[in-house]
């Protein structure tokens, strides 16, 4: 597949997919809250564009629906929800401390190479001229997982989760030309409910722990010894007789 011989649409597909991969890396390195949310929105937008272009090149009408779902969910609704949440939690100017940003980026590169090898064995089934994009979709998913695992802010973990799901949706679009409509709608609904629940959780977390720093959530860790804190509230009233109606 010589790049120069591809048509303009296919070149654009490859360009946008590569830029989406770049946004994954940008999210890895981005410590500040609002730019992180906007970069995630950009990633959603780029993936929408690729889906639309693939739909135009392969003439699969269902992909337009996928693209619309991605756009509505990943570019509009979820970034807006997250933005509103960070404003309400007054965290929009927060920046977390990333421990080893360069190491993180290099691990990301390793994951990209890994996903390329994984994809090499499976892309022969695809009919697309730009079938190597499947490698990019796997990479975006794995980079989202990396984002979830190493970042200490709860919001960053949620964005990692959403980015993971973007990657998977994207993989479905470019490998199998989208999934059956009912499945796509179900997945979109689940993601929407999940994001709403995340929002609810942020408030609970903030109220209980005082911060959205995941490193503080270690009351239940067995390494610290779950026996270090007697966590059960003693139900004193159980001892008073005649308390059972």
């Amino acid at each position: 597949m010589e790049f120069a011989k591809l048509g303009l649409y296919n070149q654009a597909i490859i360009l946008f997919a590569a830029l989406a991969l770049l946004t994954s890396f940008l999210m890895l390195a981005q410590a500040r809250m609002l730019p992180l949310i906007f970069t995630f929105a950009w990633q959603g937008f780029l993936l929408t564009m690729v889906t639309v272009l693939v739909a135009m090149v392969t003439d699969h009408r269902d992909l337009y629906v996928s693209a619309l779902l991605t756009f509505v969910l990943k570019v509009v609704v979820i970034p807006w929800l997250l933005y509103r949440l960070s404003v309400r939690l007054q965290m929009q100017y927060n920046a977390e401390q990333i421990a080893h940003p360069t190491l993180l980026l290099i691990s990301g590169v390793v994951l990209v190479i890994f996903s390329y090898f994984v994809a090499k064995s499976i892309i022969h089934l695809s009919g697309l001229a730009t079938r190597n994009i499947i490698a990019v979709s796997i990479a975006i998913e794995l980079l989202g997982m990396l984002l979830m695992c190493v970042r200490k802010s709860a919001v960053a973990q949620v964005i990692g989760f959403m980015s993971m799901e973007s990657g998977i949706f994207f993989a479905a679009s470019v490998s199998a030309y989208g999934m059956p409509l009912i499945v796509e709608l179900g997945v979109a609904f689940d993601i929407l409910v999940a994001s709403i629940l995340f929002g609810v959780f942020f408030f609970h977390l903030r109220d209980s722990f005082g911060s959205l720093d995941v490193g503080q959530y270690n009351h239940l860790s067995e390494a610290n010894g779950a026996d270090a804190i007697d966590v059960r509230p003693v139900m004193a009233s159980a001892h008073t007789p005649g308390d059972h109606a």
């Binding site: 597949m1 070149q11 590569a18 830029l19 890396f25 990209v112």
Partner: protein
């Protein structure tokens, strides 16, 4: 024989133009920066006046300076001269194209940097040592990124020769190659680090905390300083021309006809003007980073260049 001779003459003229135009670029950058910062700007020819003034001054050298200290300005300037000879400015194919390898170019820069660092250490002042160590740290981090960028371009063009690469890109037509996009971004970041611009180093500062390049050459005066200043201006122009040739080479002369040459001169002048403006806007918008964040900056550049190479292999059917 006759055309061969004129070919070589053309190469010499191109190199001389390069050297002569470098202070003009520096002056243009300075002027735009002053305008952007709402200051009164010096004329565009000011760097020429400064160089002339420095050439006329008497040399004052520390009495414990060795031969290295006196030789370094000439070595540095010579390396830059050779670098000018291999980078295509106006015409793509030059007779010096045989040695116009990108890795050779990187080697020339490394030579110049090596001697400058040694010269900084030579006198034994604290500033010199500090500048040398900082410069070496930045260079050590920028080098891998630079080489990755080089590899990305050469993997696409199947050669490391600068002229051949430029010709390849010229004949490709407009292609939306993501690998080139990433590599160019990385090259721009590396260029900022190597030419000591903001956010890595402030070229106008002489404060201890913020000097990198300036600290190494603090002891120089007279014609030594003139040669070193000129060499750093040439370096800036070389990086700018590299960026132009790899991103947007259209307009450069493919054959040495008068018409193509004059068009080439005009086009490259316009592009350099634009690059100067972009550089100034970038420098005005960004703030200088503290030294310990430079590794992150260059790490990101490295990651971008590796990403460019990976994109080439993965998406563009690289080999």
């Amino acid at each position: 024989m006759d055309s061969e001779l004129s070919f070589w003459a053309l190469a010499v003229v191109q190199t001389l133009t390069f050297i002569a135009a470098a202070p003009l670029l520096a002056g243009w950058v300075q002027r735009v920066k002053c305008h952007l910062q709402n200051r009164a700007a010096p004329a565009v020819w000011q760097p020429y006046r400064d160089l002339t003034k420095l050439f006329g001054k008497r040399l004052v050298v520390a009495h414990n300076a060795s031969w290295l200290f006196r030789a370094t300005p000439y070595i540095v300037f010579g390396a830059m001269l050779m670098a000018c000879a291999v980078v295509p400015l106006v015409v793509v194919h030059v007779p010096t194209a045989a040695i116009a390898d990108v890795i050779v170019l990187v080697g020339f820069f490394a030579l110049a940097r090596f001697f400058t660092a040694l010269a900084g250490l030579d006198i034994g002042t604290a500033f010199g040592g500090m500048g040398a160590s900082r410069e070496m740290m930045v260079a050590a981090l920028a080098e891998p990124a630079m080489l990755m960028v080089v590899f990305t371009f050469s993997m696409t063009a199947h050669t490391t020769n600068l002229s051949v690469t430029t010709a390849y890109i010229l004949h490709q037509g407009l292609l939306l190659r993501p690998s080139f996009l990433f590599a160019l971004l990385a090259l721009a970041m590396v260029a900022v680090a190597e030419t000591s611009r903001i956010p890595v180093d402030n070229p106008a500062t002489h404060l201890e905390l913020t000097m990198l390049h300036e600290a190494m050459i603090l002891e120089y005066g007279g014609r030594h300083l003139a040669l070193i200043e000129w060499a750093s201006q040439i370096k800036l122009m070389i990086y700018a021309v590299l960026l132009i040739n790899f991103s947007f080479p259209w307009g450069i002369a493919s054959e040495p006809t008068l018409q193509a040459l004059s068009l080439g001169v005009l086009v490259v002048a316009a592009k350099l003007t634009l690059v100067g403006v972009v550089l100034v806007v970038w420098e005005t918008v960004m703030a200088k980073m503290r030294l310990f964040r430079v590794p992150q900056f260059l790490g990101f550049a490295f990651m971008l260049s590796v990403l460019g190479m990976l994109t080439h292999v993965m998406l563009e059917g690289g080999n």
